[in-house]
């Protein structure tokens, strides 16, 4: 099969997935409300009246990264729903390669991660006036992070046999990652051995890179974070694809 045809198949699968997600208004609203609530809740610090401006500047880059994580993993988990509802069979029965299916699902996950993160970015800059020095770098980091989280989503989708199991598995990963990935507390301030745990999480690098861009910090930190996210993306994608491929070609 021609590469262009395979790519078109992937694009159509991704388009169909995203179309489904956006057709369900409730789905979109609920998934965005969570990070928005987290943002408003954590924007108040104990003992400080009114939103703490300094802390908000620290918080928003983390919240944006976290939103990319929730958006990407949620979207990729549609594979599990598709499997349980039988709609995955519809794609499996069509003359489409397994690679096109995996690429399509990954694209959908990454696009959803980027869109969700951008919504939070807009809220952050509109309501709290948080500005980023280099918007191009921000989008690049969001994109890399979204692909990386999508990789985790494909692994969960491959391992889980039904939606409830997938939800449990994803919460098992997402919630510890949310609190250990430096979104709400600096990883350096965490007691041992948590800073080491944080170093194993892609969210830590996404948050660090976003924060560095926001304060106009050292570009080499951003570069290293981007490389780690890329390596993480490749690793999780390879593993996730292998697991999904096993389902599709068994």
């Amino acid at each position: 099969m021609k590469t262009s045809t395979s790519l078109m198949h992937s694009i159509w699968i991704a388009e169909n997935d995203l179309r489904q997600s956006f057709m369900s208004v409730r789905h979109v609203v609920w998934s965005l409300l969570f990070p928005i609530f987290m943002l408003f809740t954590f924007s108040f610090r104990y003992g400080v009246s009114g939103p703490d401006v300094e802390f908000i500047n620290f918080l928003i880059p983390g919240i944006v990264s976290m939103t990319a994580m929730f958006g990407s993993i949620n979207e990729t988990m549609s594979i599990v729903w598709d499997k349980s509802m039988g709609v995955f069979d519809r794609i499996l029965a069509a003359p489409v390669s397994s690679t096109s299916i995996i690429v399509g699902k990954t694209m959908a996950g990454a696009v959803m991660g980027v869109i969700s993160a951008l919504v939070l970015l807009i809220i952050g800059s509109t309501f709290f006036g948080v500005q980023f020095a280099n918007i191009g770098a921000v989008i690049l980091i969001i994109l890399l992070a979204s692909f990386s989280f999508t990789g985790i989503g494909t692994i969960i989708s491959g391992l889980a046999s039904e939606p409830r199991e997938a939800m449990m598995l994803s919460n098992l990963l997402r919630f510890p990652m949310m609190f250990l990935g430096g979104v709400f507390f600096p990883t350096e301030a965490m007691p041992m051995p948590l800073p080491y745990v944080a170093k194993a999480l892609p969210l830590t690098y996404a948050t660090e890179a976003m924060r560095t861009i926001q304060v106009g910090g050292n570009i080499s930190i951003i570069f290293i974070d981007a490389v780690v996210l890329l390596v993480h993306t490749v690793g999780t994608m390879l593993l996730g694809s292998q697991i999904l491929m096993r389902i599709m070609t068994r």
Binding site: T5, G86, V87, R90, A93, P95, V96, E162, R250
Partner: protein, 343 residues
């Protein structure tokens, strides 16, 4: 009737299944199955839940890799040329697996794209199938708001969007009300009249009897009979069937073990509220059964000698009736296994 398509060269067999075997771990789901579906034929794969019908269908459609054996679809080996084979098959699964949040039109549009139809052809075909299956008026409504019958019609429409020469239908009328089931059967007959080869699986004997030209009876993964419905019925070899109804016998089932004890009764079972008896020596058996019922205080309301049906043949071959009871754990596992990634 749907549009006639032109095939490049005629085929003798639309589907050839040779020594098809599938193991899930140590569980043997399909055991060296062999059959051929002739071009333009309606072929029925008949068997109880968990017999291996869906696994066989999934292998034919290239969705599951066989442990051993081959499947050739329209001249293409499914393992070697999966995409060529898939292009020639339209699959109607046992559940209506459509994208619920999307409209009928968008669902069909997506399927058309996956099967490589260009924009103009897609539009024409979508209009055609929506018209044919009377879904035009609701084409822009989300599928999740459709009735069960509409879901089924749209599932068949989606399988026809690329005008496949072979239609594979897994339990096409399962779970449908009588009216919709009749409509689906009429559609199957029409599609076959048009020249399409149809492979359907069913656990409904009457359906296989009414619709198919050839039947394969599958049980515990093995194909135990393969012939025309008529010949399978004749395979009861001199066996005759008797149907009786016992007066005030709301629970006809309790008479089965009693009647089974009578000399000359080969099989006794309940069918559509009546007791059905298979015997090689019907004249003597009738007398014995009448006496036995009388002895146990029952009165016969109705008794008649009937032609052996496909169900009689099935029971004669397998020793059990096709059941609709819940699946056993083993059967459940057989169906679930292909869906998860860890096993």
């Amino acid at each position: 009737m749907l549009v006639i398509w032109k095939r490049e060269k005629p085929l003798e067999n639309a589907i050839e299944v040779k020594e098809l075997t599938k193991f899930y771990g140590s569980l043997l789901a399909v055991d060296h199955v062999n059959f051929e579906v002739k071009d333009k034929e309606v072929f029925g794969l008949l068997g109880p839940n968990g017999a291996g019908k869906t696994t066989t269908v999934r292998m034919i459609c290239g969705m599951l890799r066989p442990t051993s054996g081959t499947v050739v679809v329209a001249g293409f080996d499914v393992s070697q040329k999966p995409r060529e084979a898939k292009r020639r098959i339209g699959l109607v699964p046992d559940i209506s697996n459509l994208f619920g949040e999307l409209s009928a039109k968008v669902n069909l549009e997506f399927m058309g794209k996956l099967y490589g139809l260009d924009k103009k052809t897609r539009r024409e075909r979508i209009d055609q199938v929506l018209e044919l299956f009377q879904l035009k008026e609701r084409q822009n409504d989300r599928v999740k708001y459709y009735s069960k019958g509409m879901h089924r019609r749209l599932t068949i429409a989606a399988a026809l969007i690329h005008q496949p020469e072979i239609l594979v239908m897994d339990e096409p009328t399962s779970g449908l009300d009588a009216q919709t089931a009749r409509l689906v059967r009429e559609i199957i007959i029409d599609l076959n009249k048009e020249g399409r080869t149809i492979l359907l699986t069913t656990h409904q004997i009457a359906e296989a009897d009414r619709l198919t030209q050839k039947v394969g009876i599958i049980d515990s993964g093995r194909l135990i009979a393969l012939n025309t419905p008529e010949q399978i019925k004749n395979s009861t070899e001199g066996m005759r069937a008797l149907e009786i109804k016992i007066l005030n016998g709301a629970d006809q089932q309790r008479w089965i073990p009693i009647i089974s004890e009578a000399e000359g009764v080969d099989k006794a079972f309940l069918s559509e509220g009546k007791i059905r008896i298979l015997s090689k020596d019907l004249a003597q058996t009738i007398l014995r059964v009448v006496n036995l019922v009388d002895k146990h205080g029952g009165k016969i309301e109705n008794i008649s000698v009937v032609q052996p049906t496909l169900e009689d043949a099935f029971i004669n071959l397998t020793g059990k009736s096709i059941r609709e009871e819940p699946m056993s754990k083993e059967e459940y596992l057989k169906q679930r296994l292909p869906r998860s990634g860890l096993r």
